[in-house]
Symmetry: D2
Subunit: 330 residues, 4 copies
């Protein structure tokens, strides 16, 4: 039985907690959260104990930690976890500051522990199949990747304020998808966007709508479009176009029902948000993490993947600000 | 330039007239219809002349005739046309009476002329491709054919009265599809149905809704469902299930537009009726007829196909009346 | 914590056992199976104990039993369970003999216990939505229900022999769907079919391919087609056609991936079989059963639903044998 | 009968010639082409006469001219036609040089004749419905337009050389679509691309793959992707995303046939190229032109639309060359 400590009892933390509880081979030992009632509720529901970070990290029976607390705590927890010799899984982003992120990764490297990054979309059955189809040569040489990612509605302004902005909070997932599917590092990014959904988001110095072009050194191209509002569900689609054809992953729906009347044929909206769309992805992500913990071969996004996505997000932010394409740092 | 005489200036006659006019190699010479104004209008629009049947049949420059007049005139015109040595195309059904139909076919056989039957669906690009896929072995051995055929709305009661009933007027097309796609003759038919759409149709001793099962001597099965009302357009679908898989033809739409909002995704209804759905089929049907006229290889439904479909319709009618499955005559 | 005893550690029993184990409010207390190793394995995996039927039924802490053992044990277990005052969930069919089924239901009625029947498809999210759409009037007055149900491949001949035949083993699900969706009792059934997939099934006096027509007293119609072989997955589709339109539930797939190349566009096959297609349905079915156990409102198929479906299956069998439509008993 | 003269007997000229011939109210009087055999063949097929440009322009019975000759002849013919008082329809682009284009438009303005531009996609039934849906408010306020346009295979290198490059030859259609659907003028363009399909195209100083971002003054965004090669047909898709939802137009296919086997479900490729995909659009385009000729209300792309699209193409070309976003001229 693998004992795991969970930092963060919020929305994502709860997903991980439930998935740990549902497995035969894992046990959620500790829940840590500054919000005591949340921690207590989640611990009670899963048979875990609420403790302080120090207790969790000091307990040698805890093999692994999952960091799903707020972004500003990630760097410190990663470094402490690494020094405590824990295998770690951290939600994105590593940090809003790329230097601090790099510093965390240096500690991880020095201690030799495993750090996996929570880019959940890599584990979605449809996107995973997309990736395998590319690797199997079904589209030939990849030429253009197109990513659509639209949230159903904007988060609260309070969240916007501490989110690091659309590129680091939301499009960072798409930057990871882009790198993963292109199979090459983008070298330039150009970003345009604005607050088309809610002027208050603009007043908070953020945007809610964006389009981006990435280009790799060999000339492969990627288009990304994001919106913080989408009337018809959580719009998560990817198309990969190559020399031999196309592979794409469409949205998923809860049922396969279609009705027809004088107004035509109707299907239901896309699954409402990430809890529903990526339910299987979160289970699979945990599964890969457990495999890695056991020393088995596993497909995991790494800390370096987290840093690279952050570099892209920062460059996109700079491109938006300056109105020109920006070279990606290394 | 092939000169053609057209009997019947109604809805179907007008389709043929326009298709003849649009070709470089055919000319509509004569239009014949008891409804003089209709005949005059159609003749004026196509450069044809209104004449009596005798004149058209006596003119040696007329190589072919198209019979699109009312059903009760078919037998006489076929026989007269055959005796005049014309190549003939006749709309379904041959006749409401199978003996009279057989008598017409005997005259055709004796005179050695070609008689093609207007089972337009055989020439629909989708159904034609379905047939070719079956012949190419894409479904392996055919096991079950399922046919859906629904008109958008019932015809006028006056039409119902002289139509010969749903099986001979409407389902006769599906019986032809069934024979064509099964590749074998059905030996039994079982039919159920009623006036679910309009009680007045029931009062006129007809039905507006029906389901039928056909079985061939080797045990292949066919399901047919018909309705005289369909809210979402002209519903024309076929599925052929075999040992190796399925091939199906869905409805067609005028555009590929889809809209999405909080209510989900919407596509437009199916094409409204046969003029739209089978526009290409009518052109292709004429094309095959012209090929045959020229002595080239052509795929045409024959007079015998018309008689066979009529036998199935009559057996279905008897099955409905008696409440038992009925053997198909030969 | 609701304590449950499970009779039958086979494929379906294992589904129920896992679903019971995954809930917070239920506990699998006992597993009973004549196949001791299967029972032991399942008990070990779920923390249950292997006991004899008598022990399970005699334990007052066991509130409910789930009967997923072989069909020939259902009647005896239902009667014993009813007399022991257990709330019961029984897999279909109740019995192969309608009189024995009726006898079991009489005992259930006398003892006043709840008996739910395992018609899992009623709980499938797509079919459940179909039913709600009908109740919401989206198709107007129901006129024709069309059900397609195809297994990926035939069961072993040994299973065929004791299955009671295609109608009682396989199509019984579709008969239940038909009753549920028509909202009326069928009064006649006509069935055709044969051994088109495997002659050995024919030699065993069963069929592997069938088409059926049902009709209700008010003239509503239902078509069903079954095959024991389907190349492209587990084909589970329903269309309900009514005065105002159509509602249909299509197959489900594991991913939303589509590839395109010179050969066209390709999507993956339907989910392979019932374990995958009805995974959510089995969970929802248990959920409804637990609700009923707690005295909450629940949508459950009843013992009488099981008997009615059996009557339809028997009538279909007789229709096939005699070659005529058969009236349904009451 | 409206008499029309056609300049250019190539691929597009032939489409127009056939469409003119198929109408009851138009007559193709003259065909003009430097390639005499082509002109002779097309004239013979349509009952027209081959003449020199002067003869055609001098004939007062000729009300309208269609300019479908090579791009370098457009400016001169437009000016000559305008001076001859002809109503004109000119294929895109107006010219490769925006100043020469403006000069032609000035002559048109001075003479007061009508000049329509051949942006055929505006008349495609699907894109036309898209536009109407936007105008009807189905997506709310337009935020992001995404256009996919991929040719099945690159044109000959000789054509590439005189084409003016991908932006002026191919993407110019998408620039027109963007303006038309955004309902506002783009003010900046950023373009990336390369010769990913064929290095010889790169050696000829052109590209075969491109992605572009346009932005309007109010912050509306447009993504365009082009490729000169597409394995699965002529890929012509548009999505318009707005505050209230999405409207999109997918590719069209020749049939609605789908096959299913162990490898899954297959549909045919998109229609192969513009002759097939835009057959209806070319007919509708002519129809609108004839309406305008008659003084009826007509929806036509204007000469100014042609100039605006050319400005966008030139700016995209400059953006690609300089690697920065470029402001659009006025």
């Amino acid at each position: 039985m693998l004992e795991i400590a969970l930092f963060g009892a919020g929305r994502i933390g709860q997903i991980h907690a439930r998935n740990i509880a549902a497995r035969d081979d894992t046990r959620l030992r500790y829940v840590i959260d500054v919000d005591s009632p949340s921690a207590a509720r989640l611990a009670a529901a899963t048979g875990a104990t609420v403790v302080s970070p120090d207790v969790a990290l000091a307990d040698p029976s805890v093999r692994a930690i999952i960091i799903a607390s707020s972004t500003d705590t990630h760097a410190e927890l990663i470094q402490a976890g690494a020094r405590a010799g824990k295998v770690m899984f951290c939600e994105k982003p590593l940090d809003l500051d790329v230097d601090r992120a790099a510093q965390s990764l240096a500690v991880v490297r020095d201690t030799g522990v495993l750090l996996a990054l929570g880019f959940n979309r890599r584990y979605d059955p449809s996107f995973h199949r997309l990736k395998r189809d590319i690797l199997a040569g079904k589209v030939g040489k990849v030429e253009v990747v197109s990513i659509v990612s639209r949230d159903p509605s904007p988060p609260p302004l309070a969240y916007i304020d501490r989110s690091g902005g659309l590129f680091r909070d939301m499009m960072i997932h798409d930057f990871d998808m882009a790198r993963w599917l292109l199979g090459e590092e983008p070298v330039t990014v150009y970003a345009r966007g604005g607050a088309l959904v809610d002027a208050a988001i603009g007043a908070a110095n953020d945007i809610d709508t964006a389009v981006v072009i990435l280009e790799t050194a060999t000339g492969k191209l990627c288009q990304i479009t994001n919106s913080r509002r989408c009337a018809y569900g959580y719009d998560q689609r990817i198309e990969v176009f190559g020399s031999a054809g196309l592979v794409r992953a469409d949205n998923m729906t809860a049922t396969s029902v279609e009705t027809a009347d004088a107004g035509g044929f109707r299907r239901e909206p896309a699954l409402p948000f990430f809890l529903e769309r990526y339910a299987a992805a979160y289970r699979q992500e945990l599964d890969e993490f457990i495999k890695a913990l056991r020393g088995e071969a596993a497909e995991l996004a790494s800390g370096e993947d987290g840093r690279r996505a952050l570099l892209l997000a920062n460059a996109a932010q700079e491109s938006l600000r300056r109105g020109v394409p920006v070279q990606i740092g290394i």
